[in-house]
């Protein structure tokens, strides 16, 4: 509605300016002036050429340099290919909430996952937690089966429960992380979920959640030290 109101106001203003005989001449004069700088720029660009530093080389010289350039390009290609991990690696897209499992340049599997919800949980003025998945290059630091979740303070605060002591029994929850967990460091894991219907949506506290089948595939495909790229 605001857009329509703005368009109507602009239209009314232009109509008034044109129909008022005092301003008609000025208006007709000003309009082409607005486009004049663009026109001059186009003429300048058309006339301009970059500084003339061309050298005339003989055909033999050109072929020789071309050969040398091709050689240097192939060396650069080898160097660049050497940067791609040879073993399996994982790429996670936090905007689309999907993951791709690669071996070298070959895509092995692609499916949905869940990543950080971009929620900022505030507990008064003292404490706050940002639930987002970090971006960049990571390594699998460790792998575990049947992981147990040791609930951090925010897990109690976000559901309105009092925070228990550090090793209180209520902090330990079994089965919620699925059958496997892969540790990315700084408290971030790749794990399973009970909420499979939320896969493909940004709902986590920063970890990456996968379906049971995908988790098994990722767990078996990646080893300790395997690369994980998150963007």
């Amino acid at each position: 509605m605001d857009q329509i109101r703005i368009i109507k106001t602009v239209h009314r203003f232009i109509r008034n300016v044109i129909t008022t005989s005092k301003y008609t001449y000025s208006f007709i004069f000003v309009i082409p002036f607005l486009f004049l700088p663009i026109l001059i720029q186009k003429v300048v660009i058309t006339l301009a050429s970059s500084p003339d530093v061309y050298n005339v080389l003989s055909e033999d010289k050109i072929l020789e340099v071309e050969k040398q350039l091709r050689l240097e390009i192939s060396k650069l290609n080898i160097k660049l290919d050497g940067k791609i991990p040879k073993s399996n690696y994982l790429i996670i897209n936090t905007s689309e909430n999907d993951f791709s499992l690669y071996k070298g340049k070959k895509l092995i599997h692609k499916d949905k996952c869940s990543t950080g919800s971009y929620t900022l949980l505030k507990n008064g003025d003292q404490q706050e937690w940002m639930f987002k998945t970090p971006k960049g290059e990571f390594k699998i630091l460790s792998k575990t089966t049947s992981p147990i979740w040791k609930k951090p303070d925010w897990a109690f605060i976000e559901v309105g429960l009092p925070v228990p002591s550090k090793n209180h029994w209520s902090r330990f929850e079994y089965g919620v992380l699925g059958d496997y967990a892969l540790n990315l460091g700084q408290g971030y894991l790749i794990h399973g979920t009970l909420y499979q219907r939320f896969l493909g949506l940004p709902v986590t506290h920063g970890c990456v959640r996968l379906s049971d089948a995908n988790l098994k595939l990722v767990y078996t495909s990646l080893n300790q030290g395997s690369k994980v790229y998150i963007y």
Partner: protein, 248 residues
């Protein structure tokens, strides 16, 4: 009164030519780049026949330099019509560019200028977009379990705004990335406002330069259009001051 009118029109005409002639500053900047370069080997790459190979070499060298960087970077490959996210030698995401428009002043640069300009990663100093980088939702801790149950987080597909991005690079270069489809009136309106705002910003910058008796600024641009989902992924993945490699 008549005197003021003449002064006013003289000022308008001066500013018009001041802005109109601004591409000359870009050309001067490129001349300066070449003059700074005293390497003799570059003379071979200025032959027209070697242009394709030397552009490719410059591109590969730039990508190799960028692969040493720890953060996510951008590759705009206009030869392949692809825009890709890149980190440490690995392509994270790649998308097809459906529309390319290059400022004629850039295509006029010879291979020597091209190498100086695009033979290394360029730093994006400023990003401007119609979407937010991190769609943060603030939630206050509930007092008890009852309040928590009432405010339980309901995942949503999020309201997605139209995506138009402008990136300011070194040497006053601009990369404009736009969503390829504009199916809704809101998309067209947002694009219109985005473009008007860019024009106003450029004009204001030149007016300030004029008032301070500085040279005018011209922003050679590369405009591309890609699918909206890819555009959001790319924008949100890039850090605040990422590097970019351009190849054409």
């Amino acid at each position: 009164m008549k005197k003021f009118k003449y002064i006013f029109f003289t000022l308008i005409i001066t500013i018009t030519f001041y802005v109109g002639l601004s591409p000359i500053t870009s050309i001067q900047e490129m001349e300066r780049l070449i003059q700074e370069d005293s390497t003799s080997s570059s003379e071979f790459y200025n032959a027209f026949e070697l242009q394709t190979s030397s552009h490719e070499k410059a591109f590969k060298e730039a990508v190799l330099i960028m692969s040493a960087n720890d953060s996510i970077s951008l590759i705009i490959n206009l030869k392949d019509s692809t825009a890709s996210l890149f980190i440490k030698g690995v392509t994270l995401h790649s998308t097809k560019i459906s529309y390319i428009k290059i400022d004629p002043i850039i295509t006029k640069f010879n291979t020597h200028v091209y190498q100086k300009l695009f033979g290394k990663p360029l730093l994006i100093s400023k990003q401007k977009a119609t979407i937010i980088k991190e769609p943060i939702v603030v939630i206050h801790a509930p007092k008890d379990t009852l309040e928590a149950a009432l405010n339980a987080y309901k995942p949503d597909t999020l309201i997605q705004n139209p995506a138009y991005i402008q990136m300011k690079l070194e040497h006053n270069l601009h990369i404009i990335m736009e969503q390829e489809d504009n199916p809704r009136l809101n998309d067209i309106w947002t694009r219109f406002l985005f473009r008007v705002q860019n024009s106003v910003d450029n004009s204001l910058e030149n007016l300030i330069n004029f008032s301070r008796l500085r040279k005018p600024t011209y922003h050679p641009y590369i405009q591309i259009k890609i699918p909206v989902d890819d555009l959001r992924s790319i924008y949100r993945a890039l850090p605040n001051q990422p590097q970019v490699v351009v190849y054409f």
